[in-house]
Symmetry: C2
Subunit: 504 residues, 2 copies
């Protein structure tokens, strides 16, 4: 690491220590705020040292748990190691780690699943308590003591402002050339807040560095460890079919004059359906695309390279290991085309509504009236969380939800009579796409929505059953939203008890 | 009417005609956009003449229905008369008229219940079709042909821009002195939109008048008819108890330094609970209150008069007949203290989040995890609609829902195991208040929310039953959100079949 000097501030150089020493600054019951968003930019080794301390304390019969606030999901070296030792009493705002998920569902960890743009406002309201320690990954520390974030901005600046003590992890795996790609702009701590002056995704409004009261920095640890980098999920036939329906929709909107040829700024999640959509966009005749989104994934990086996409604004990366390496090796190509912002800004309702995003998010399931469940399996088991989907869907120009029509080898229909958990109300669900087809629900009343969703989106196996349920509702409760309550959740009940939604 | 000249443009004076003549411009199948928001500022006599035409056509066996787009709810002279003749095939975005409600629930009228700030964006997207005729109530027409709205701004300017033909109702009951109280500002028709430059509720950003292409004005009708003006609902013991809990909450927030002494801009619905809250606020030690809300109701008008409130921004009035008369007789007192904006601006997420509103809305019911139903009785029957509650709740500094803990003489508990319709997801429901108490849910995980909601908000009669359900969920599905699906909707099923949620 010595050949690659990253700490350019003399006073801070003297604070370099081991992860074990750094972790000593953390006490039982502390509220810890870390960097990290979707597997990027999270601290890689201090959490492990903390987990070892916690394990030791537990072995000695002592209580030791912390409260963990992040940007969003992190990686096994943070959520994973702390969950393994049952070291987290409270977790917010988002998680995808399987070990942490188990703690959450088992009730060992209280989990607050929330809109990602709302973490900072809720923190400022006092509802999340006062932060004790911030642990923030950096790519470098500048000579003047200002800080360069790594691959995620998240809530970093707020945690740096708020924590009583600050631990910094300077990660040599992260490229020093990340400097200049961040745009740190702070929302006013009191009301009325300043106008967020972003009008186009490429607008830069803040500084490329973060600031911290240097007296609060208690430890600096140097690391050389990769981001989590989930493997690329290749698109399958269903994903490509979904993408195909979506391209047809975009082309029709352009033809009607409702969307320009360069579309509108894209927001997209990750996973194989999102990858198929990116592939289709890169092969389509669109030009000068832009993204105003949470995370930059493989497909966007490819489009930025070919020039198909001119700018991507996000709060972090979510790349496959191969693409992350490619990015690190070719960072100069991307420096002018990517802006990383605080998640309060990347997901800000004000900006999303102003620029008119196309929001594309996954759904676990949707009901026949178009309410969407994005978080809970069978109404109770937390999968990941709502993340930023609510920030985008309610404010987008058009809000699209995508899911294959079947799951679990056909034992689950993604279109159901009633969802046992609503994350996106019907008003915010404008388009549903499955491999079967696309339902443009804008302007439709519930009865009309039901017909179009069943007809266009449901799998043929379940279509007659859904039609039967809808008729049962119409017969028993012929009102605005015809439901037959006794049967409304019966598909889920059946799955829980028999392993399939299909009748015997 | 001649002594009170309201039409100052010479060319337009020549277009004055009868309501019957004006209604001749409307054809079967037309998309009609009218003024009107919560019983104020809607056209009073052309709809009646249209209803007569429709009735006649139906008697002759001819099809005649129109599609009706408004600001929000209107009055019996619009929604009522058209529903009576079954003259509306499609209705959006909000209704409170009992006759129209029946048509909606019977399936005679397709009803799209939507976020009120989203009507204009959805219209611009093309999803609501192309408007044929706008019918807009005015208080006067200026010499230059610009138009002064009456007691509601709603979507007036967009309808005036979009309709092929325009019919104007100049209502002499409305005070000419309304001129100057409106602030008409248009969102850009294409993306990116302009920044909405409102930072404080008192900011004026537009013009006091509306504009129209004079060639499109096909008819002008003079009227002298009052707004609907729902009677004042006096607060009862429950409402006062709810208000009391709320004042305690506000005082605590002020003490913690999280809210200033003048609170934050208030958004409030109407009805007896809202009235009790206004009474309590006017009697409390708060100073210099402000409102950034949809409608100005009796209590706000009183506080504006006493100086307790310094400014109220809204899109319309919703006053009792007495208070409306008082306002008309004393309009000079209020002219500088009230701003009426387009509903896209009064309810704009951008502004609401920036200024940090306190959102106070009613709920039909909430579940133990804090999901709220504001629209559907027993999951199917439409009551009114979501209105602007979603615009405010998701973007407010704090989002409060209020309801008495019981309804129907105790046969309904407003706190239930699961709501059969979700309008506000748990993330957007931060505080629930019943006469029993207040639950501050900010920062809490679902299991903690359930305990606080049951303990603080449920009626003692239902508390043990709710606890029993929650334990059943914990036993059967001990996960993030413990539900027992088989029983989740059983309270509603029981009410539908037996008329009570109480066990035998």
């Amino acid at each position: 690491m010595s050949n690659d000097k990253r700490i350019h501030h003399l006073g801070l150089q003297r604070k370099v220590c081991s992860a074990e020493e750094a972790a000593q600054w953390i006490n039982p019951g502390d509220i810890i705020g870390t960097s990290g968003f979707t597997g990027s930019g999270y601290p890689k080794i201090v959490p492990g040292a903390l987990a070892a301390r916690i394990k030791q304390a537990h072995e000695q019969g002592k209580e030791f748990k912390i409260k963990l606030l992040t940007g969003a999901s992190t990686g096994p070296e943070l959520d994973g190691v702390l969950a393994e030792v049952n070291g987290v009493s409270y977790r917010t705002p988002f998680n995808t780690d399987p070990k942490m998920r188990k703690r959450i569902n088992d009730g060992d960890t209280n989990y607050l699943d929330m809109h990602l743009s709302y973490v900072a406002p809720l923190y400022r309201s006092g509802a999340l308590g006062d932060m004790d320690v911030a642990i923030i990954e950096l790519s470098s520390i500048r000579a003047d003591g200002t800080l360069v974030a790594s691959t995620a901005v998240g809530n970093n600046q707020l945690w740096l402002n708020s924590a009583k003590k600050v631990i910094l992890e300077v990660n040599h795996w992260q490229r020093a050339e990340l400097e200049g790609m961040h745009d740190i702009w702070e929302v006013s701590p009191t009301f009325p807040q300043k106008i967020v002056p972003i009008v186009n995704p490429h607008d830069r409004i803040g500084n490329p560095y973060m600031t911290v009261d240097l007296d609060k920095v208690v430890a600096i640890v140097e690391t050389n460890a990769p981001d989590r980098n989930a493997p690329f999920s290749p698109s399958d036939g269903n994903a490509r079919a979904i993408a195909g329906h979506l391209m047809e929709f975009f082309n029709y909107e352009i033809k009607k004059g409702k969307m320009p040829q360069q579309l509108l700024p894209l927001q997209s999640g990750i996973g194989n359906v999102a990858n198929a959509v990116m592939e289709a966009l890169s092969q389509g005749h669109f030009e000068n695309l832009s993204a105003y989104t949470e995370v930059i994934q493989d497909g966007m990086l490819s489009m930025l390279e070919t020039g198909k996409m001119r700018i991507a604004s996000a709060t972090s990366f979510s790349l496959s290991p191969e693409k992350a390496q490619y990015f690190n090796d070719n960072i100069q190509k991307f420096r002018q085309k990517i802006i990383l912002r605080p998640q309060e800004i990347s997901n800000h309702p004000e900006v999303i509504r102003r620029i008119g995003c196309i929001a594309m998010n996954g759904a676990i399931e949707a009901d026949i009236f178009g309410n969407v469940n994005s978080t809970h399996i069978m109404g109770s088991r937390m999968m990941n969380g709502i993340g930023g989907s609510g920030d985008f869907t309610r404010n987008a120009y058009v809000s699209i939800f995508m899911t294959p029509s079947l799951a679990k080898d056909g034992n689950i229909s993604s279109i159901v009579p009633m969802v046992p958990r609503v994350d996106h109300i019907s008003q915010d669900v404008q388009v549903i796409v499955t491999e079967q087809g696309l339902a443009d629900l804008r302007g439709l009343s519930p009865r009309c929505r039901a017909k179009v969703i069943i007809e266009n989106c449901a799998h043929p196996t379940y279509k007659p059953l859904l039609t039967e349920y809808y008729k049962l509702g119409l017969k028993n409760t012929p009102m605005q939203t015809p439901h037959f309550l006794r049967e409304a959740l019966s598909w889920h009940e059946k799955f829980v008890s028999t392993g399939t939604m299909l009748p015997k």
